[in-house]
């Protein structure tokens, strides 16, 4: 190979690789978008046993379609999408637990000691064979894309997949709580695990009528801030989801 050729290859090979990468990456994204679309319209086959519960049987959310300007689809398919995603999330996390064992025999033994029967364990192992478990970061990116497309329930999924101790998890939980009673219930029941600062803690404690916590926090917080937070919490109760998002942008709460 002469020098000229070598130079050309040296120069253009990395560029060619980059182009191929960008193109394939783009294809993946398009594929992802398609799957999101199918999920929304209920066409996608996830290969995962989904919830048998119908949307109407699940806990109702206070989401008001009129307040979500970006959503141009009926609410029910979105909620169905959400329930399906949630069941899929459980399934993949469960499969993570199967795959977290380096030794299948040890896993079987462990399950048997907790009272499971062999057939059930064997079935779980088979179900999870070949299942790829995405990490939370990858899932977050996916749902953030979905949220940008106007699927408000993606916000609830973001709140579900990110542990509330991380500021990322807290952020999405707060955002989803503007419209989802389920998110608000999650905050209520796992209050101590959410990475709230004192102001946020006071704000949600007031909304959730946790009087003991409110009284405790009152001792440490400057009175002007305290009253402002209480006022915001009172306003929250009579606000629309859109107005609540504005409240969450308040200097004391965000």
């Amino acid at each position: 190979m002469n020098m000229k050729k070598r130079v050309l290859i040296t120069l253009f090979f990395p560029i060619t690789l980059s182009v191929i990468y960008i193109l394939t990456d783009n294809n993946d994204r398009q594929e992802e978008s398609k799957s999101i679309y199918h999920a929304k319209t209920g066409e996608r086959d996830t290969g995962v046993s989904s919830s048998n519960a119908t949307p109407s049987e699940e806990q109702s959310d206070t989401f008001n379609i009129a307040d979500a300007e970006t959503i141009d689809e009926p609410i029910e398919p979105l909620k169905e999408w959400y329930l399906k995603e949630l069941s899929e999330y459980f399934f993949t996390e469960f499969c993570r637990s199967v795959q977290s064992n380096s030794n299948v025999d040890e896993y079987i033994q462990e399950r048997l000691t907790t009272g499971d029967d062999y057939a059930e364990v064997d079935n779980d192992i088979s179900k999870c064979e070949g299942v790829t478990v995405k990490d939370w970061g990858q899932l977050s990116l996916r749902y953030e894309e979905e949220l940008k497309l106007g699927n408000q329930y993606a916000e609830l999924m973001l709140a579900k997949i990110n542990p509330p101790g991380f500021s990322h998890g807290r952020y999405w939980l707060m955002q989803a709580s503007t419209w989802s009673q389920e998110a608000m219930n999650d905050i209520d029941m796992n209050f101590d695990n959410v990475a709230f600062d004192e102001m946020q803690k006071l704000f949600y404690a007031k909304i959730l009528n946790k009087d003991d916590i409110v009284n405790d926090l009152a001792k440490n917080i400057e009175s002007s801030d305290y009253y402002e937070i209480i006022e915001l919490a009172n306003t929250w109760n009579t606000s629309t989801p859109k107005q609540r998002k504005v409240i969450l942008n308040h200097e004391l709460v965000k």
Binding site: S49, E93, F94, W136, G137, P164, W172, M189, N193, M199
Partner: protein
């Protein structure tokens, strides 16, 4: 050579910092350290990354506070005893600069509370620092703590880097510190080891490709706070009282990275109309674990929920089974429990054939 490169690298770190005049910074060779106020030159033999970092860090503060034209609050600089081959750097657990420790330090969130310990005490150096133990491939997050009110977005510029400590046994006798990832700007949000705490909710990162067993890493975070070299300070931080000063904050931690282990689920407890799972993880604190549930009711209807505690409202019947999966973001464990509340038994009113009526 590697030692020298690391120092050179760290020197670049300082030079490129917008808060330090690059023209006033001189490259410091490893074996000569001349930042003692009286100008005495100090030499040492230790080549650890920690020692190097500490020295560089100390230089940053001195230079920063020189511009501040005011004596640094606290006793940081004065505490540095620079004697040939001996340096007491017990100053390192907290930030060094113009703030007191409670105003600036960062913490590695996701891990359990750090333990403070004396460590890395060879012949001449005494360090004391917070030690976090985390595991590879699980998310962690950096926070500034003890902020009086809100947020984690107080450092306007900050940098971080990972360095493999030479105490890492997998490196055998190699003494040179090994920079893993280089300087990362806290404002960027791309690539691994890059953190963003400025209004971006995506804050956690995963320390990956370090799963070759237990290793020790050093981790430094440095940055400038609210300073623009003109004395204009971000007044959104009144508690720092840094108006007119150049302030620098650097925190040095010891991070122990271990091979990950899956969480242990101890129990699922029913309380009123809730279910609560109890789990522990060696490396991950409770709030940073993910809990996902599948509850199957008597009609074989499945309900999916998340959170350490879930509500059973909407789940009918007196029999149900619950599977909880607890994950640290890398490994999971599952536990199943069946709950059955027997329906009240009807009162048996049939005559008793064997009973004798008195």
């Amino acid at each position: 050579m590697k030692n020298y490169n690391t120092i050179k690298y760290l020197a670049i770190l300082v030079m490129v910092s917008p808060s330090v005049h690059s023209s006033t910074f001189e490259q410091i060779p490893l074996t000569e350290y001349s930042c003692k106020p009286n100008g005495q030159t100090v030499k040492w033999n230790d080549t650890s990354s920690w020692f190097s970092l500490a020295a560089i860090t100390n230089t940053i503060f001195k230079r920063g506070c020189k511009y501040a034209q005011r004596q640094i609050r606290g006793s940081y600089i004065d505490d540095v005893e620079v004697i040939r081959g001996s340096l007491d750097l017990s100053i390192l657990p907290g930030p060094i600069g113009c703030q007191s420790r409670s105003e600036v330090p960062m913490s590695v969130v996701g891990s359990h509370m750090p333990t403070s310990e004396n460590w890395f005490i060879p012949t001449q150096i005494n360090f004391k620092a917070d030690t976090y133990t985390i595991s590879a491939n699980t998310p962690y997050e950096l926070h500034q703590k003890d902020q009086s009110k809100r947020g984690t977005n107080r450092l306007d510029k900050w940098y971080s880097q990972w360095i493999i400590s030479p105490s890492d046994p997998s490196f055998g006798n190699e003494k040179a510190p090994n920079v893993i990832n280089g300087r990362k700007n806290g404002h960027s949000n791309t690539g691994p080891m890059t953190f963003s705490i400025d209004n971006n909710p995506k804050t956690y990162q995963v320390l990956s490709n370090m799963s070759r067993g237990t290793r020790e890493y050093s981790f430094s975070i440095g940055g400038s706070i609210g300073s623009d070299f003109t004395g204009n300070i971000n007044m959104d931080w009144p508690s720092a009282k840094i108006n007119g000063e150049k302030c620098y904050a650097t925190t040095l931690y010891k991070i122990k990275v271990e091979r990950n282990a899956k969480p242990t689920i101890h129990s699922i407890v029913k309380n009123a109309s809730n279910l609560t799972a109890s789990a522990t993880d060696k490396h991950t604190a409770d709030s940073y674990l993910s809990y996902t549930w599948e509850v199957t009711d008597i009609n074989n209807r499945k309900h999916y929920k998340t959170g350490k505690t879930i509500s059973l409202s909407g789940i009918s019947g007196n029999y149900y089974s619950a599977i909880v999966t607890v994950s640290d973001g890398n490994m999971s464990s599952s536990l199943k429990k069946i709950f059955e509340t027997a329906p009240p038994r009807p009162i048996d009113v049939r005559p008793c054939p064997t009973c004798q009526i008195p």
